[in-house]
Symmetry: C2
Subunit: 236 residues, 2 copies
Amino acid sequence: MFPHSVNPNVSVDCVIFSFNNHELEVLLIERSAGNTDKVDEVKALPGNLIYEDETLNTAAGRVLTELTGLDNIYLEQVFTFGDPDRISKQHDQDWLRSIRAHPEARVITVAYTSLINKERHNLSPSSFARNAVWIKVKDVPQLGFDHNEILEKALSHLKQKIYIEPLGYELLPDRFTLAQLQKLYEAILDDNFDKRNFRRKILRSSFIIPLNEKQQGVAHKPAGLYRFDKSQFHRI
Amino acid sequence: MFPHSVNPNVSVDCVIFSFNNHELEVLLIERSAGNTDKVDEVKALPGNLIYEDETLNTAAGRVLTELTGLDNIYLEQVFTFGDPDRISKQHDQDWLRSIRAHPEARVITVAYTSLINKERHNLSPSSFARNAVWIKVKDVPQLGFDHNEILEKALSHLKQKIYIEPLGYELLPDRFTLAQLQKLYEAILDDNFDKRNFRRKILRSSFIIPLNEKQQGVAHKPAGLYRFDKSQFHRI
DNA sequence: AAACTTAGTGTAATTATTACACAAACCCAA
DNA sequence: TTGGGTTTGTGTAATAATTACACTAAGTTT
């Protein structure tokens, strides 16, 4: 491996969502300061400066892997944040000084997002990520830099997208019930739907295929199981 | 005025659309090389490096003004392009060498877009824009850098947006006919609609207010005039 | 066997979408 | 002044989508 040269002015940040059958969660890291074992109590989105010789998309994937261990995740660009003061809060600067060659350099960041099923991926934080944790979107505290704003933008991007693409095939188990799917839509859109209308509409869409199986071992009438038919749509 | 320091790694590009009552047009500049009066025959979107102390949005407005004279245009971010090779074509490099301190530096560009009525704005190209011209979107030639790709992305952004926001209040005259409005929608969406259905739908929307006036001096039945009611919606 | 819990279903009213054709209003030219 | 040219403006029927709404069925637990 040759060493890569770093672009001091451009970073990527990743907003990775998951679903715990109830609520949306987002992946955050706990920053550790330099070589010390001191954990910075402020959480942040996984992100870092790009290399000079990689695309933004590649950078997002690499940085996500380096910080959290998540590998081979499909990432989609959301928005770019470039306020000149976005990294200049004192606390953020203190932290940057411990890890960056030019902590004072202006950094524009390109946000990427993805949806994953956290059961299918293991986290193994490293680099300056002392820890990587799933936090309920509704419980997200004040984050470093402008990361709350980035999260908000990724969320509204997600809300828009769910009308276009049948999201969720990544967020749910392979076989799922329509109640689970409905809860997912409700979590993303922060709304509630009528069960009958939701079912009618979603089954009309041909992405969701009924299986001849039922839930087992639940203390009530078992629900039928469904799966996504990925062949019915294509990423652009 | 103090001199501004330039960020060598980040630029903005502006995709400005207008409408000639028939087709969509986009604003391009003809690049002039350095101090020479030689016109680079390749056209490009108006764009340039950002200053260290301005936001991306501010940079987009400033650059647009500097290159084309368009002032005070509402600009909206579209997408960010960061391919490591996006400015390395020989011809683009030749031109960059004539105007940039570090022509070889990697540049990530943030694209912005707007819709304007070209009748209401004057072009006065300056800086390295030898000329600024409106080109029909369907006639756009091969542009410098990755600007064809950027234009495509801005166009699809526009198509998406027209479903959400009642665009067009900027693109049409203050008073317009429903046929003009329909042609605008058809130009943007590259589609054709049934006149009766279009009218019914658009009039249902409450943004479009009938006036008690008719076209004058046309050699056929004069059409009724309408205006937009801007109070009926708000930019986010 | 009764209580508990969630699944699964139908209908009527309203609204939106699609497809389709002809008379009315104005100008112009003969 | 009349007829031709051109674009405007309008209605309806068929189909599809949306909304609102409540009870029985199928399991488990006690």
